[in-house]
Amino acid sequence: MSALATPAAIMPNRPGLTGRISDFLWKHPHVLLVILLGPPVLWLGIIYLGSLFALLLQSFFSIDDFSGLISYEFTLSTYKQLLSDANFDIIVRTITMAAVVTIFSALIAFPIAYYAARYAKGKWKAVFYLGIMLPLWSSYLVKIYAWKLILAKEGILTWAFTKLHLLWLLDGWLSLPIIGGNSLSVSYTGTFLVFVYVWMPFMILPIQAALERVPGNLIEASSDLGGTPQQTFRHVLFPLALPGIVAGSIFTFSLTLGDYIIPQIVGSSRLFIGQAVYAQQGTAGNIPLAAAFTVVPIVIMGLYLWMAKRMGAFDAL
């Protein structure tokens, strides 16, 4: 017979250590599972969640105003401090900003994601992914400082409004209470624009993924049964895209709740939660209050997910 002899019905073990390991793991799949899953679970459980709980535990301690030392006794006084007027303002301001940023991100992201999922093919799909991902590859700080220049009084936006003889519109907007200011770069409007810009990819990609999974014939079926385009959107497309929108909003909402750099560089001098945490644990040395502030986004996200589930956002999954 030639070198390619007919193989035996049952082949012998592969020689060497790797062969024995392969056989052993094939017979004991749970060992393989422990080997593969053990390190990441330990990392997640001890280093990641463990340190988070250690931090949260701090929020039940308090700081001695007189000595500036932390007293390690269980107390809710830090939470009382958290709900004082000044601190509560910070919470409301941050949540409002996060909600508005999330809503506008979803409104802008949906058509882009819809186009990418339904119509973009081949080369245009690549262009879409590049266009969405490219901003993520450049430094976050560079982008924010670039926006500060764009939004500044001497910036390109003011220039464009002047050239279009629409400066009155910009000035009118800036003269509005709360959302206005001396220029866009020191107003909440500016903070809002930068937040929407920076978190946009995190909204577009989950919606695009959700829309991609909606079979085209469901759209046709709705139309076939007499559904106008608006009805098809409302009763078929939107419910099926909702898990993606919720996933995207978790990103934009929680990222806005926690960010402390954007409002510091672009916006008014009033604090957001992230800045408050930064200030309390750094300059003020009030770790318990900083910890209490970090509890706020966690509780809000928990409530948000619970509500989304109750509203049936995950029914289509």
Partner: protein
């Protein structure tokens, strides 16, 4: 009487691809009409033109006497049963069936009642609260049918609706569809690549190939009197005899079709035609034996009843058939 669906010189070209090319078609009201052809033959595109998912690049379409081009699907009283059913995964079965009534603004109680009646009609009463994912393929097919019929369409389009079902279920659904169509009196337009399905169900069949209708007629016409080699071959794999063999039989024709089951092996009466040949292959198919016979280099398939003795491979045999079974064709 106005036609349910009328195609006048209708074309649908995708760039250089002529999916549907200059098709003329008239489907009568109340008819069970089948569009038969291999994949890519244009039959599904024709169906999509009727539904309004595609717009013709040329020609004119009428549905019950009204111009249909430029009319969106949601303004046509035409409903479709999709090939993979296209049930809405986020809605219950009842809401799926009631969808068409819901978007037309029918009240909640009324549409639920209608949806439950429709589910009862397709023999799925009480399934309303389930989700599409919890049903089997055959049940989903029935839901898709109920969802279309609840709207009382003027024309019901069925796009290979039985393709995903197993043989037993398919045969059962064929009968049910047929009797449903008779009792409702709705025009059914049915797309299939299965010639047996088309023959057993349809009042008339259009055989498609390369974007054109090859032949349009009753199942018997199509089966017994194919006009082209394609129809003869696609519908029941007829033998197509060349002009040389026709000449030997004393029948002047460019080509002729002969059904495998019309040929007998070894027996020949005076009024019958006969051809000598050599058996090259045979296989047992249950009710029949399929025997390949070589006649002067042309392969002829014979479907011989299983009760008849089967000649050995290599045996010389006589093939006998009646002149009436030989159907002359215009083209070679």
């Amino acid at each position: 009487m106005t036609a349910a669906v009328l195609f006048e010189n209708v074309s649908r070209h995708f760039g250089a691809v002529k999916a549907v090319d200059a098709v003329d078609l008239e489907i009568a009201a109340g008819e069970f009409f089948a569009m038969l052809g291999p994949s890519g033959s244009g039959k599904t595109t024709c169906l999509r033109l009727m539904a309004g998912f595609e717009q013709p690049t040329g020609g004119h379409i009428e549905i019950f006497g009204e111009t249909a081009e430029g009319v969106p699907p949601y303004r046509r009283s035409v409903n479709t049963v999709f090939q993979d059913y296209a049930l809405f995964p986020h809605l219950s079965i009842l809401d799926n069936v009631a969808y068409g009534l819901m978007v037309k603004g029918v009240g909640k109680d009324e549409r639920r009642k209608a949806a439950e009646d429709a589910l009862a009609m397709v023999k799925l009463p009480g399934y309303g609260q389930r989700r599409p994912g919890q049903l089997s393929g055959g049940q989903r097919q029935r839901v898709a049918l109920a969802r279309a019929l609840v709207n009382k369409p003027k024309v019901l389009l069925l796009d290979e609706p039985l393709g995903a079902l197993d043989l037993k279920l398919r045969e059962q659904m064929q009968e049910e569809l047929k009797s449903l169509q008779k009792s409702l009196g709705i025009t059914f337009v049915f797309v299939t690549h299965d010639q047996g399905e088309a023959l057993s169900m349809a009042d008339r069949i259009a055989v498609f190939n390369d974007g054109k209708i090859q032949q349009l007629g009753t199942p018997e016409d199509i089966y017994k009197r194919p006009q082209t080699r394609f129809v003869a071959d696609f519908v029941g794999s007829s033998n197509v005899l060349s002009s040389a063999i026709c000449a030997r039989l004393g029948v002047p024709a460019k080509a002729a079709s002969l059904r495998p089951e019309a040929i007998a092996i070894g027996t020949s009466w005076a009024e019958q035609l006969s051809l000598p040949g050599t058996v090259t292959a045979r296989s047992f198919l249950g009710a029949t034996n399929r025997v390949s016979v070589d006649c002067n280099g042309e392969k002829i398939i014979v479907a011989s009843p299983a009760a008849m003795p089967v000649p050995e491979i290599g045996a010389d045999v006589q093939l006998a058939f009646s002149r009436n079974d030989l159907h002359l064709m215009e083209e070679a």
